[in-house]
């Protein structure tokens, strides 16, 4: 145990008067207010925080920020977090954490998931990163009168600035305090800490995750301009066993000493390619750390001279070959010019292999990078203004270290060795230089491919410390310059965010996805209906009597409609009212059959096609007046038909004077079906003449039903005598009640969607979306009769003549009857020809599949509809359905199983 807390006054960011108790791995410790979990663990001498995910190697704290690849913990209290780097966890009272080996886990239940508030924020200027560059940018914007939001992932403003730094000739820490206070008191300025910009999206949209207590927040920020002041990350160099506890970034060690008053080791070897490493060594020496030596692979320079002048052993032209110790570093092997070797005692290796501008957010929104030879890193390429993939969008800019204002550095990536299998590149993926070279040996050239072969950069830290290193090794291995290609891209979120935060507060089912119910819904609930979801609608599926099974209920309901009468709530059918002088012209173009010839008072079934000639939706059109139609759509198709109507009216035929209004919810629809339907309607009490001669099939009449104004239509989806009673939604429940009461002596039974499906299948009526799938024409359905043959155009007409649409041998809708009538065929079952019994070697040619399948109570057997290649030519023959319980022989028949003459529709 070699980390310790320095004596006061070291540690300007911690409050020594406020001790904080916490638990790690079941042991109780004490830290200080202002600590991170990492600084508190180091202060308590904890060397090993977690083990590595794949190799189980001991790992300590490597960094002082979100670039951390090692020290991952799960937090149990005060609020659950599945995984987080200890370096980015503010220490709070009662914190309970345990080690996680690089991979998070979810709790057994979701009780601990943080609920987040979502806020929408509009500002002129959003600044990401509250280091010196970010503070300065935010202050300038605020002084210019902008509404400003400044966010930083850390718990403080000022970033990684230390007592050694200065701004405008002033000590940085006092400048930060002054500027921070000025911003805090400025109007229109919001400063958020513990707040991470997860992603920057088009047109200045930035999602900010604020880990506030007690409720976390997700800010949806829309900014006129976004400034990235995201700083830079120091990067490591690979050498043997560079993953041991005690190996750390040099700047992190100095930040721990300066900000937290924590010494991360007693005696350090500093391995640095740039002046920042030298400065860290000198600062740490002043803070009380022994510096065994500064190892600088360069030939020397001002930084090396200054360090030497401070009395520190500087080895220019030397490199670190290996670290050794168990578990923590005890010695460091170094190599110098002419093959010189030396071994130094040290419990710490502080590495500074150069600096990478933090450009992930910049790249993700289209900003380009260029290689900077002096700094040996990729920097945002702001010279490419206006070039795609260049300077990014005009509302985005990048400043400070993130823009490339980082120390100059010599390139140094890894020290050579025969065995590179302990030269770690990505600590969180346990990937080494050997792994990268192995991927290159398999001819992988792109860093994106190497990433996928080695998993480098796929961990929580997104390769912040490994990406540039990997790119350099790949470029070098292919004999290319260091700027040949950059690191693999990283995507939002910038750091992990719980899904519960993205989801936001639970506002109940109604706002999550609207639940639509009909005006009669409560009556159905009282009656004990079992519901099914049809789109957003709740529809009664069947109405079981007490103790009745679904099978028994559906059989009873079906027989009631066929023998006496049944009534169904059909209010969910889509209804669109179309009005205007050109409405008939428009409907002729919308439907395959002609609607302009429909008489007022009459109804016609119609089929709509897509431009591709495939069946799009179906329903009926009622002519209410010369210039007024009401069309119905399928329940699930209502919105898409409305969209279709509006699109054609607005974009192609704006000359047509037609207005379309959705009236689905304005009307309640009660479908009364069965041989006794007329008697039930008469008993309900109506002034509408019901004699078939006065009120024939496919007409509608208006009048009073049960004292309520109603529009009654003679349309039938069951093949039985049927009346569809439409009343204002307000009267829906009363009308439902009135019909059921009047029907009681006539054995009237309410029925649900399952019975409706059985009844329509018995008649061979298709359901668009069940028997069709977007590849089916009217001809495929055997509905050529509904496609008009004259010269007038309708949507989809030309496509019906396309070679593929017109070819013979397409799949046709047919009926299938299993040879054994008791066998029910599963929907979706594949249909094959008998000569290809399903035991044949694959591939077995597929003829089609079963689209609908039911047990028909009135026929006393199973029936099925299927789309079968050349199906109509196979009628009378046999096919085989492949089912989970084996092949089933079926006869191919016409899809109309019941009352093919249509004798029952008039009762």
């Amino acid at each position: 145990m070699t980390g310790r807390r320095l004596d006061a006054p070291a540690g300007h960011g911690v409050d020594r008067s406020r001790p904080i108790g916490f638990t790690f791995e079941g042991i109780t410790y004490e830290g200080l207010a202002g600590d991170t979990l990492a600084s508190a663990l180091i202060a308590n001498g904890v060397d090993v925080v977690a083990s590595s995910p794949l190799l189980g190697r001991p790992r300590g704290v490597f960094s002082a920020g979100v670039e951390e690849p090692n020290a991952f913990v799960e937090i149990a209290a005060p609020a659950f977090r599945s995984i987080a780097p200890a370096t980015a966890v503010p220490l709070v009272d009662g914190l309970i954490a345990s080690a996680r080996p690089g991979v998070g886990r979810l709790p057994a239940d979701d009780t601990g998931a943080p609920a987040a508030q979502h806020r929408h924020v509009h500002v002129e200027t959003l600044v990401v990163g509250a280091g010196i560059a970010g503070l300065r940018a935010a202050l300038e914007a605020a002084q210019a009168g902008d509404r400003v939001m400044l966010v930083d992932e850390r718990s403080w403003v000022g970033g990684t600035a230390t007592t050694d730094d200065g701004v405008d000739g002033e000590p940085a820490l006092s400048w930060i305090a002054t500027t921070g206070a000025a911003l805090a008191s400025a109007s229109g300025v919001t400063v958020l800490t513990d707040a991470t910009a997860l992603g920057v999206y088009d047109d200045g949209y930035v999602v900010v995750y604020e880990r506030s207590t007690p409720v976390e927040r997700l800010h949806h920020v829309r900014a006129s301009r976004v400034l990235l002041a995201t700083g830079a990350h120091e990067r490591p160099i690979a050498y043997a066993r560079n993953d041991l506890p005690g190996v750390m970034l040099a700047s992190a060690a100095w930040l721990y000493a300066d900000r937290f008053g924590v010494l991360t080791g007693e005696r350090a070897v500093v391995f640095s390619t740039n002046h920042a490493g030298h400065e860290a060594a000198m600062s740490l020496a002043r803070a009380g750390m022994q510096i065994a030596a500064v190892i600088d692979p360069a030939e020397g320079g001002r930084a090396a001279d200054a360090t030497r002048d401070a009395g520190i052993d500087v080895r220019t032209g030397w490199s670190v070959l290996a670290a050794d110790g168990d578990p923590r570093v005890r010695s460091v092997t170094i190599a110098g010019p002419g093959g010189a070797l030396d071994t130094l005692d040290a419990d710490l290796v502080l590495v500074s292999g150069g600096w990478n501008p933090t450009a992930q957010l910049w790249r993700a929104i289209g900003g380009g990078l260029r290689w900077d030879d002096e700094r040996s890193c990729f920097v945002p390429d702001v010279s490419l203004d206006g070039v795609p993939g260049g300077a990014g969008p005009p509302w985005l800019s990048i400043v400070g270290a993130a823009a490339g204002e980082v120390p100059t550095s010599v390139p140094c990536w890894y020290t050579p060795a025969d065995d590179l299998s302990e030269h770690f590149v990505d600590l969180q993926r346990d990937s080494t230089v050997a792994d990268v070279l192995d991927a290159v040996g398999h001819e992988l050239r792109s860093t994106e491919h190497v990433k996928r072969a080695t998993y480098i950069g796929t961990a929580i830290d997104q390769g912040r410390t490994s990406g540039a290193l990997t790119a350099a090794i790949v470029n070098q291995a292919w004999g290319e310059g260091p700027g040949a290609q950059g690191p693999s891209n990283s995507r939002p979120p910038y750091t992990p965010v719980p899904y519960s935060v993205l989801a936001g507060a639970d506002r109940g089912p109604v706002l999550l996805d609207p639940m639509r119910t009909t005006p009669m819904h409560n009556l159905h609930v009282e009656r004990g209906a079992v519901f099914e979801n049809v789109g957003q609608w709740k529809r009664p599926w069947y109405f079981p009597l007490p103790g009745e099974s679904m099978h028994a209920a559906v059989e009873r309901e079906c027989l009631a409609v066929r023998r006496t009468a049944g009534v169904m709530d059909a209010s969910t059918l889509g209804k669109i009212e179309l009005v205007g002088p050109d409405v008939a012209t428009f409907l002729d173009r919308l439907y395959t059959n002609r609607m302009s010839t429909l008489a007022v008072g009459s109804i016609r079934y119609g089929l709509m096609l897509g431009l591709d000639g495939m069946v799009f939706d179906d329903g009926v059109a009622m002519r209410l007046a010369e210039d007024r139609f009401l069309i119905t759509t399928t329940t699930g198709g209502a919105a898409k038909v409305m969209d279709h109507v509006e699109e054609w009216l607005q974009t192609e035929w704006p000359d047509l004077r037609v207005y379309a209004t959705s009236v689905t919810e304005q009307w309640a629809t009660i479908a009364l079906n069965g041989p006794m339907a007329r008697d039930v309607l008469a008993a309900t009490g109506t002034d509408i003449g019901l004699e078939p001669s006065a009120f024939p099939f496919m007409t509608w009449r208006e009048g009073e039903v049960a004292g309520m104004h109603a529009r009654v239509a003679r349309v039938s989806f069951s093949g039985e005598l049927a009346y569809e009673v439409n009343v204002s939604g307000y009267h829906g429940a009363a009308m439902w009640d009135a019909v059921l009461t009047a029907g009681d002596p006539h054995w009237l039974s309410p029925y649900g969607t399952e019975t409706m499906h059985v009844l329509r299948a018995e008649k061979g009526f298709v359901i668009v979306g069940q028997d069709t799938d977007g590849t089916v024409t009217p001809h495929d359905l055997g509905m050529s009769w509904i496609v008009r043959k004259d010269d007038s155009d309708f949507i989809g007409r030309r496509s019906l003549r396309r070679p593929d649409t017109a070819r013979p041998g397409r799949k046709h809708l047919v009926g299938l009857l299993s040879v054994d009538p008791s066998v029910w065929l599963p929907e979706g079952a594949q249909v094959v020809s008998p000569e290809h019994a399903i035991t044949t070697e694959p591939p077995v040619p597929m003829l089609g599949h079963i689209t609908s399948s039911y047990r028909s109570p009135v026929l006393g057997r199973s029936i099925a509809l299927a789309m079968v290649a050349g199906g109509r030519d196979r009628i009378g023959g046999l096919v085989v359905a492949a089912t989970p319980s084996g092949p089933v022989e079926c006869e191919v028949v016409s899809p109309m199983f019941y009352d093919p003459e249509g004798a029952r529709r008039d009762g």
Binding site: Y201, D202, D203, G204, Y205, R222, G366, P388, G389, P393, P394, L611, D612, D643, E646, E647, Q650, T651, E652, P654, D791, D793, R797, R798, S799, R801, R802, P803
Partner: protein, 95 residues
């Protein structure tokens, strides 16, 4: 998320809109007169422009109007929105 200037409602978040693909592909005056290739070209083939082009949008959760928009597909920069029936800007980045 794009900020789309609806010509009727002003700038609104992309989530309020439905995308309609390439603009200015008129429904042929006489579809039957077209060869199978010409009809397939109308039906299926669209440009895959890198850079500025015109596309259709509908303000589905707003005024429900279709309109056209110029957008740079490489940068997602938005140029101008204009109403159905209006001519779009000529070429280049429209402002």
């Amino acid at each position: 998320m794009l900020l789309i200037p609806c010509p009727w409602c002003g700038r609104r978040d992309e989530i309020e809109f439905r995308y309609g693909g390439q603009a200015h592909i008129a429904y042929p005056a006489d579809p039957v007169a077209l060869s199978d290739e010409e009809w397939a070209d109308y039906l299926f083939m669209r440009d895959n422009t890198r850079g500025w082009w015109s596309e259709r949008w509908m303000h589905a959760a707003g005024c429900r109007r279709w309109f056209n928009l110029t957008r740079n597909t490489a940068t997602n920069e938005i140029g101008v929105a204009y109403r159905v029936g209006e001519a779009g800007p000529a070429t280049g980045p429209p402002r």
